[in-house]
Amino acid sequence: MKKRLIAGLVLHENLIVNSYQFKLHLPVGTLRHTLERLQDWQIDEIAIFNRTHSFDAEKDFIQLMSGLVDSVVNTPLSYGGGINSKATIDRVIGHGAERVIISASEVHSAEHLRHLSENCGEQALLIHLPITNEGGVFFIGNKKMNSVKILIEEFSKRVPYSWGGEILLNSVNHDGMHKPDFDLITHVLPYFKNRCGLILGGGFSSALDISRLMAISGVNGVSIGNLLHRKELAIKTMKDDASMDVRRYVKELE
């Protein structure tokens, strides 16, 4: 799979927010204006994490998209927030998402994962793994998911070999902190070797860090968050400096 630059957007009560260690969320603006800019700069993919979702993920998604009816979203879009059943996955995909994001806590076993992707296909699923480093022990979860403190080794067994979906690993400790956790990456990668591709996120804010990450085998992409909102032309600069191809906007091909 082509290495990609993914916009990781955190949605909090209908606002796109800057996120810091999954604890502090600062307002940025509306989804509409965020998407406009991301498309201007040809981000490869957009992943929306709705942290204030309701119990009805399908309704949340429809409402979100209805606010964008007069905007054209050409970029592949993944959506997550309270999605925990095959039926909901199918419906959200049916309403226009290219992929859905499911929380690690919703994945019970390899069989269960296969079941969830039965209709939509494995490639339509992206598992979100927020990982906390507690004194050198890495586990999946954050304060909100306290009851789901799973060790990475244990979780990796819930992902089938040669699974077609991907996993997005987010470092909780480094979220919004301007520096990624390469120790985490080194620790986690072996567990998912031959299982699925990984996307890494949490603190990526320089072309150097992105280049370094993209050079690692098994890494399919990087998710950047806060950086998107605080500098002009962040995406293009990142891609140019990290020698990544800029996705050609559809219009240019006409």
Partner: protein, 404 residues
């Protein structure tokens, strides 16, 4: 409705703040949380970082400016210029977009600024007829009369930076960071076209303004144009905010500037604080009424929240002061209406449509449908026979205006 809004337990902001605002589990808003950084960060280190950054932009041989500083006769201009010239020794070009309706105090402050710092200065004044057309359009369709000045003041320095090969633009404080804690100071947020369009210009930039009035032409908005992305990518122009590197306290800075350079304020009817925006006769008057109608709060609320955060006033006292000032009538209505070429009664029409429900629509990003006041500009209330530009009020530097 207003009563369903969440209020910050520290300052006076509510959940309908137009820039967006978040609250934590303790009910403290994002603005107050980020403000805490002002007391926790090592500002000496941050200033040193600024020094290094600025040094890298110093032009060898001094055959060009080191940076561009947008200035006005109010706000933080004196402090920014003082810092850059007196403290860091850079050679800036000062630029000003003439808002077209200036106060005498504002013109005087701008003149004092220029004489105190002896820096090169460039000003752009657009055709007053076009200025009135833009202000009318933004008043009717966006519920603001400030759009013109913000569009011009945020684009002029960037355009000049690009044209003149001066890649650094220096701003004071980031409004989103200061008011609602949009970023951590450590993020070192820079100016972006996105923030300008979404927040400064209420989602409507100079390319969009055409749809409100078919009479607009490309030529009308040339002086409001923000350089396109491809151009900025080539020129590497960036805009930094001193507030990320210097512990920003506007009130303290104003005190210092009054003492050092004689910066002057103006008594304002709808706020206790004289030194914000004394350069605009309508900003804290009719524009403030529009703000109150749309969002349920006024400029005085911003200032009181600022003072609460800096420990200058208690929340309880601030609430009382807020209530006192938001009920006051705006000044300069007749003068402004005359300048705009409409009857004073015509100003009431946009107000009738700006209810508190408008605020909810802002949050839901459907304000355009909520602002159902697309009055044709041919409406009899918006025209005055033989309307002439009121030169006193226009006050584009050729004379001193009314009352000041």
């Amino acid at each position: 409705m207003m009563q369903d809004l969440q209020e910050c337990v520290r300052c006076l902001y509510k959940s309908n703040h137009p820039l967006g605002i978040t609250f934590d589990a303790e009910g403290i808003c994002s603005g107050c949380r980020v403000h805490e950084e002002k007391d926790n960060l090592n500002w000496s280190d941050r200033k040193e970082k600024l020094r290094e950054l600025l040094s890298s932009y110093r032009v060898k041989g001094r055959n060009n400016y080191d940076c561009i500083i947008p200035v006005s006769g109010g706000q933080d201009s004196f402090f920014i210029v003082h810092t850059i010239i007196s403290e860091f020794g850079l050679n800036p070009l000062l630029v000003n977009f003439n808002r077209n309706f200036n106060s005498g105090v504002g013109l005087r402050n701008l003149a004092v600024l220029r004489q105190s710092f002896l820096a090169d200065f460039r000003q752009v004044t657009i055709n007053p007829k076009v200025a009135r057309k833009v202000v009318k359009t933004s008043l009717v369709n966006l519920g603001t009369l400030n759009w013109l000045w913000i569009a011009g003041q945020t684009s002029l320095p960037v355009r000049l930076a690009n044209e003149m090969g001066v890649p650094l633009v220096i701003w004071g404080a980031h409004q989103g960071l200061e008011q609602v804690g949009m970023y951590s100071h450590l993020d070192e947020v820079e100016m972006t076209a996105r923030y300008r369009k979404e927040h400064d210009l209420l989602g409507v930039d100079e390319k969009d303004i055409f749809r409100f009035d078919p009479d607009f032409s490309e030529r009308d908005i040339t002086q409001l144009a923000y350089p396109p992305d491809e151009v900025l990518a080539d020129s590497n122009v960036r805009g930094i905010y001193l507030g990320n590197f210097i512990r920003w306290d506007t009130v303290q800075q104003h005190k210092e500037m009054i003492e050092k350079y004689g910066y002057k304020g103006a008594k304002q009817n709808r706020t206790y604080y004289q030194y914000d925006n004394p350069d605009c006769p309508v900003y804290s008057n009719f524009q403030d009424i529009l703000k109150q109608k749309k969002f349920g709060y006024s400029k005085v609320t911003d200032q009181l929240s600022r003072d609460i955060r800096h420990g200058r006033i208690s929340r309880d006292k601030a609430i009382k002061i807020n209530q006192k000032f938001i009920e006051r009538a705006p000044l300069n209505i007749v003068e402004f209406a005359n300048w705009l070429g409409i009857t004073p009664a015509g100003l009431s029409l946009p107000l009738l449509n700006l209810t508190h429900d408008f605020a909810e629509e802002i949050i839901l990003d459907r304000w355009r449908t909520a602002l159902d006041i697309k009055l044709p500009l041919s409406s009899r209330y918006m025209k005055r026979k033989n309307a002439e530009i009121d030169l006193d009020f226009t006050n584009i530097g050729k004379g001193i205006s009314f009352k000041d």
